[in-house]
Symmetry: C2
């Protein structure tokens, strides 16, 4: 099945963007009448067939429209300090999208070694992962903001911080109730500073552990995202 | 903390291999009296100090020896078809080691696109991940073998196959009991063939699902490994 991303697609305006049309027509060599799937990344999923082969204006005939496709009764927001090595952050994005994530934020911490960040590249990866894993929702992606600013506009819902600074921490899977709106904060390679942890706790973030193992930043992000998905997996 | 890997290390023969000694002395610029940690990858963990600065024969003074360091009451064996893109398999190895895995096997399936495989490179990555995550056990690493041969010498314990071929499948986290010796089989990009699934079932592999999402091969391996670790995480 080929899933195409067309942010402006609708039953009234059933066209593929040029880049997607080129991929369909020139790379995959699809032709009139061939079946395709389309999402706008906002939950709308379309089964359609190609109705034309003009790359610049590739029209589809919509056979079926499913709104809120794969909508879930919970939401996961992972906020992470980008890793020194960009590949690792890109893996994190890809894997979180595959596993299931609603929002990804990037925070600049005191010990962050990476202070620059390419949001376009991250969006590209998220779109590719959404298409590959046949999802109809593209996660909301944030720009890199200082942790202090991120904490100021604290999201609602269940907030967790996975840090290694000393103190009591419960396992994320024990504290997160099913059906929640979660935000989990993951620090940089050198961890959060005690001051950053204190600021997060003040804002209602609950310290959590992701298990016994010492995990890299990107692994911690993926593991946290997976735990929150598992907490919400269907009962036996 | 710097953890060095010295497969032949013991209290009686407390020397770093040359490559590790070079890293300690030349890259990290450690000197006599500096604290280091060493593992032999078979559960022995040593706290030591440098007792010499000869790269070719770098002697340590052992302060403390902990056998069976981090030994667990369960074991996880992930058997996976290497991905077309080698990076993805290497990433799987790194993440499984970080999260916790005891054995990694590589199987050649009918639909495998990658039919070659560099075991040295995989071992290097596993060693680096073991050191980075401060573990004392290096997972057992297998060479690439045809699935048929792998199934012939079926491991003991709880055996699972995560496939997408039609049929009933329970969630892995529901069927895996704590404290088990698990083996989970993950197929190639194009999935197992129905014949391969049938052969595995005949050998006692139980079909399982890893959740709602369509996951890439390497993501499926990481997710399966993580689920089995979570099933064994300490009770509340």
């Amino acid at each position: 099945m080929h899933l195409f991303f067309a942010p402006d697609f609708s039953v009234e305006w059933p066209f593929l963007p040029e880049e997607e049309a080129r991929h369909a027509l020139k790379v995959l060599r699809l032709g009139t009448g061939d079946a395709v799937h389309v999402t706008d990344g906002r939950g709308n999923f379309y089964e359609a067939t190609l109705a034309g082969t003009d790359v610049k204006k590739c029209r589809l005939a919509v056979r079926r429209h499913e709104p809120e496709s794969g909508k879930r009764g919970f939401s996961i927001h992972v906020a992470v300090a980008p890793t020194k090595n960009t590949d690792r952050t890109e893996w994190l994005v890809e894997k979180c999208v595959e596993i299931g994530v609603d929002q990804l934020s990037f925070v600049l911490c005191e010990r962050s070694e990476r202070r620059h960040f390419n949001p376009d590249r991250v969006e590209k990866i998220a779109v590719a992962a959404m298409k590959q894993s046949l999802k109809a929702y593209l996660p909301q992606l944030g720009e890199l903001v200082p942790l202090r600013d991120f904490l100021k506009r604290t999201p609602a819902g269940h907030k967790y911080i996975a840090h290694l600074v000393e103190g009591e921490r419960q396992l994320l899977q024990r504290v997160a109730p099913p059906g929640g709106a979660y935000c989990v904060l993951i620090g940089p390679e050198g961890d959060f500073t005690p001051g950053e942890v204190a600021a997060a706790l003040e804002r209602g973030f609950v310290p959590v552990s992701l298990g016994e193992s010492r995990l890299r930043t990107e692994t911690a992000g993926i593991v946290a995202c997976h735990i929150l998905n598992l907490v919400n997996s269907q009962p036996a």
